[in-house]
Amino acid sequence: MTPLPDIERRLASFIETQDLHVEDAYELLSLGESVLEQWVAAKGLEPTRDTREGFRLLALHRQGCTDEPSFNACRETCRELAYHYNLVTLEPQHADTAQRLRMMTLVANHLYLFVAGKMQVHGLGDFCCASRPLRQEAATDSA
């Protein structure tokens, strides 16, 4: 698995460059999968090799949501990444390919920031507003 700092560095280099190519779509999708692999593995699960709607990325997201409804907050980000991958690879000659790759880079970066932030704040705790650990703690206290 690619460590998060390596993913961050690679995404940063994509963001900096103005010279994006169709082949970069494969790596950007792969980086997205790597981000989700980190999340799934940190939860003690084996990252799935399955696909959903043709994408391992979406299967990993589904797996990452297990017992973690707040992880759905990156569902559309994953779907946008898959959508942009399709746009770029199915219409490589399209006039908007460079712009689509630029957008795909920022979408992948958002997925990285969301997941990395989520893992960083409370170890494996909740990053967004549905703070399950706090509620569990309160439930334990009142028991």
Partner: protein
């Protein structure tokens, strides 16, 4: 006039805490737009906090009660059918309370007990319909009605519409969404796009419409929030946007504050302006920039809007 359109002509208005503070310009512009469109807003009497994030994190059922009290006042004391909440947090919490009361007997029991203790009628699921400001204008006036009332135009202003994460999530508390043509989409929301396009804006293709802005951790982990916001802003600018239109006070203030912080902390300057959709609609309806609170935004867009001939 359709049933929904008639029902939305006069609604109970639940501004919520943010619109009385950092989002005062959203409050001002929502009321001004309502007046310009001939829609009546009657503020919920003696309203309370919806439970926001803080209460929900500690005791979700207490949040359900707090939101239910707002709906109870609207239904039983004000005899209103519809509560309109422009804040995504309030809107989300009232919808969540509605769902919980309809599906969870324990929530209903807690709400009943606390309501009796507080001395007001217990709210029962289905007594009111909670809507967002976007629903209110989209269905209360509609695109054609809006077009007829325009006194100006957004003149091709390039807009990235940012809906935030709470307007569509979780999907099960919004049963009216994803119901085919005419309804709102939870994966690609479009109501704000639709309304601003009628007002003369050009909506750019923006892939982070519902992405997390890190609002919940803006104080506890500011750097992550700043990076998330910076990425949203960069995406909007890369898409060609001159303005990010917002419909959530938490997202809006987060975008404004972290845009400044991104420059100070990380040296990453960006230019896009952050404006509430109600402010843009108000300008297109012929209202002055002060009437819609442009001067109250942190993101100073007054000169920009004047240069564009919009304000």
């Amino acid at each position: 006039m359709s049933g929904t359109r008639a029902k939305y002509q006069k609604v109970a208005y639940y501004p919520g805490c943010a619109l009385e503070g950092t989002a005062h310009s959203y409050n001002r512009s929502t009321q001004a737009v309502g007046k310009a469109l001939g829609l009546d807003l009657v503020e919920v009497k003696n309203w309370n906090c919806c439970g926001a994030m803080e209460v929900k994190n500690i005791d979700p059922k207490l949040q359900t009660y707090l939101s239910s009290r707002v709906m109870s006042i609207a239904a039983t004391e004000m005899k209103m059918d519809v509560v309109m909440a422009p804040c995504n947090g309030c809107y989300h919490n009232l919808k969540k309370a509605e769902y919980d009361l309809a599906h969870d007997a324990q929530s209903a029991e807690v709400v009943d007990r606390l309501s009796k203790k507080a001395g007001h009628a217990t709210y029962r699921a289905g007594q009111v319909e909670t809507i967002h400001a976007l629903d209110w204008i989209k269905h209360g006036i509609g695109e054609e009605g809006l077009k007829r009332r325009l006194r100006g135009s957004l003149k091709g202003l390039k807009v990235a519409n940012y809906y935030g994460c709470m307007y569509t999530r979780p999907r099960h508390i919004f049963p009216e969404k994803d119901q085919g043509p005419g309804s709102e989409s939870t994966s690609k929301p479009h109501y704000m796009d639709d309304l601003l396009a009628v007002a003369g804006a050009v909506n750019v293709d923006f892939p982070l419409k519902t992405a997390c802005c890190g609002g919940a951790h803006t104080l506890s982990d500011s750097d992550t929030s700043t990076k998330l916001v910076l990425n949203i802003i960069r995406a909007a600018e890369a898409a060609g946007a001159e303005v990010i239109a917002t419909e959530c006070p938490t997202c809006h203030s987060g975008l404004e504050m972290h845009q400044v912080r991104a420059e100070k902390k990380f040296g990453q300057a960006t230019k896009v302006k952050i404006v509430y959709f109600t402010q843009l609609l108000g300008l297109a309806l012929g209202l002055g920039p002060k009437q819609v609170g442009v001067h109250e935004n942190i993101s100073d867009s007054m000169d920009f809007l004047r240069q564009k001939g919009i304000a």
